[in-house]
């Protein structure tokens, strides 16, 4: 299954750094996300972006993970040639990620 079957997501930006919030639909999905969504996995998914580092923060009470993608937006909103200068589309792109299903999705 894809990440979109387990979670919704939102991206934001500060300078050249993109941040993506991934919110699991339930506790079981959150466990799967914690297991599957390593910073390395996120970085590999966006291999064509100039990311220097990925931080991950866990918010179990919200079933949410926060990823901070340093450098992802190049020079940031004011210095990038990106069509989507803010990286607003990146959260949706992340939802294409394949997830191994030890978990039964609420949509199955």
């Amino acid at each position: 299954m894809r990440l979109r079957d387990l979670a919704h997501a939102r991206s934001g930006d500060k300078g050249g750094t993109s941040d993506i919030t991934v919110v699991a639909f339930d506790a079981a999905a959150y466990d799967a996300l914690c297991r599957e969504l390593s910073p390395d996995r996120i970085r590999a998914h966006f291999a064509d972006l100039p990311i220097s580092a990925v931080d991950r923060y866990e918010l179990p009470q919200l079933h949410a993970l926060k990823f901070v993608l340093h450098g992802a937006l190049g020079g940031g909103v004011t210095q990038t040639l990106n069509l989507d200068a803010h990286g607003k589309c990146l959260a949706s792109c992340l939802l294409a990620l394949s997830i191994q299903a030890e978990h039964e999705s609420p949509h199955d």
Binding site: T21, T78, A96
Partner: protein, 430 residues
């Protein structure tokens, strides 16, 4: 909630819709209404406008917004706070005064100053330098009886924290209550983003009535209790999911959301749905802020030239690739620096650099885009003209060509000691 104060978000960015604010004023039973109109680079862009026209430099929609809400706010006792002053808070206050006079309204307008720190920095290339102020100037203005408070750069959350600190008379080191005030600010600062905007994904997160999205308000008790809601009958939804996305929006370490008023800890926040589109917020915490203030420094960064052209039907992708090949050669031959260019296909790999192999690539249409950063306006014009030139000289069936040139500003961040940035309030009476 008895003794609670209601604060609404009338705009979450400079181009935001105007009607939701009118709805909040007329039916929202507000005490305060906040218009947040400054993104990261807005002040630098407004400074460029002010260089061309000394009377400009504030939010261009301010007159329209004030004309739409000012009479209703005066009638209902709703007080307004806005950072629409941007690079010219005095000019913005003059517009508010003008709108008040035209409607025969009496008004006490406060201007919060001190964010412009360009003179403090040794930055010869800078066109603007603005410190992110905390809520103290806004509190002083409201304590002094302001009906409308106009600011330049103030931390977005402080625009909301100011009225709450003023109304509940919270102390500047009352971290527990400042945590509530700033969390409200963060949840409301993007207006419709907590009521279902930037959220809908059909089949996953369905949102009713997005065309008539209602903007949010918060009820905040003297004890710091928070409930987020919106006007009944408006479009959109407030639920745990919309609040979760907005709480973490543009936050890096959730345990350290740094503002000039306090460092807020969102890491243990949770939400409960307590009614239809009504969410209660729990678990906020905060501690003392840093001794320095963040400063955004703007400088001119040359020009960006862009051009786009569409190809459709069988073989459109191959024709788009041929178009890009032609553009690359011609721009390289023109002696422009090719390292500063972007060549891409909208519909394939423009918002998502590097085509995703998981998706089939048989588009019905594709749009070629070239963008380049150059030093002169003439070179930027050249880039777009190479694209429109494909109309007669490029692959078959190129259509809908567009070009544009943008003067760019770059933003960098630094910090200054808080003690060097005194806030002051000036007054305009109508």
């Amino acid at each position: 909630m008895p003794g609670s104060v209601r604060i609404g978000a009338g705009a979450g960015f400079a181009d935001d819709r105007i009607e939701p604010a009118v709805e909040l004023v007329e039916r929202g039973e507000l005490d305060f209404l906040v218009f947040e109109c400054l993104a990261e680079r807005t002040i630098a862009l407004r400074q460029l406008e002010r260089r061309r026209d000394p009377a400009a430099g504030f939010d261009p929609l301010l007159r329209d917004r004030m004309s739409a809400v000012l009479a209703g706010c005066r009638r209902r006792g709703v007080r307004i706070v806005t950072n629409a002053g941007a690079a010219n808070p005095h000019g913005a206050a003059a517009v508010v005064a003008d709108v008040a006079r035209a409607a025969s309204l009496r008004l006490r307008i406060a201007i919060v100053l001190g964010d412009d720190v360009l003179d403090l920095l040794d930055a010869p290339d800078a066109i603007s330098a603005n410190a992110y102020l905390g809520s103290e100037g806004i509190v002083e203005a409201l304590d002094g009886g302001a009906d409308v408070v106009v600011t330049g750069r103030v931390a977005d959350a402080a625009l909301f924290a100011g009225p709450l600190v003023h109304a509940h008379r919270w102390a500047r080191d009352d971290w527990e209550h400042l945590a509530s005030a700033l969390t409200v600010g963060h949840l409301l600062e993007c207006a419709g983003q907590v009521t279902g905007g930037y959220f809908a994904d059909p089949g996953v997160n369905d949102v009713p009535g997005l065309a008539d999205l209602g903007f949010p308000f918060a009820d905040v008790g003297a004890d710091g209790r928070i409930e987020i809601g919106k006007v009944a009958g408006t479009g959109g939804v407030v639920n745990v999911r919309t609040c979760t996305e907005q709480l973490l929006y543009e936050v890096h370490d959730p345990a350290r959301y740094i503002t000039p008023d306090a460092v807020v800890d969102f890491s243990r926040v949770w939400f409960t749905e307590v009614g239809e589109s009504r969410v209660s917020v729990h678990g906020v915490d905060a501690g003392a802020p840093p001794a320095t203030l963040k400063v955004s420094v703007g400088s001119v960064a040359g020009f960006v030239g862009e051009g786009e052209i569409s190809y459709a039907g069988p073989g459109c992708l191959a024709r788009a690739d041929l178009a890009l090949e032609i553009l690359e050669k011609r721009l390289r031959d023109a002696g422009l620096d090719a390292a500063q260019f972007r060549f891409e296909r909208i519909g394939v790999d423009a918002t998502r650099r590097g085509a995703d192999a998981a998706f089939p690539h048989n588009p019905a249409e594709v749009r070629v885009r070239v963008a380049g950063r150059v030093r002169t306006e003439a070179d930027a014009e050249r880039i777009g003209r190479e694209v429109t030139g494909l109309w007669l000289n490029g692959p078959a069936g190129g259509g809908g060509a567009r070009r544009r040139v943008t003067e760019e500003v770059a933003i960098r961040s630094t910090t200054v000691p808080r003690a060097l940035v005194p806030t002051r309030v000036e007054w305009v009476e109508v």
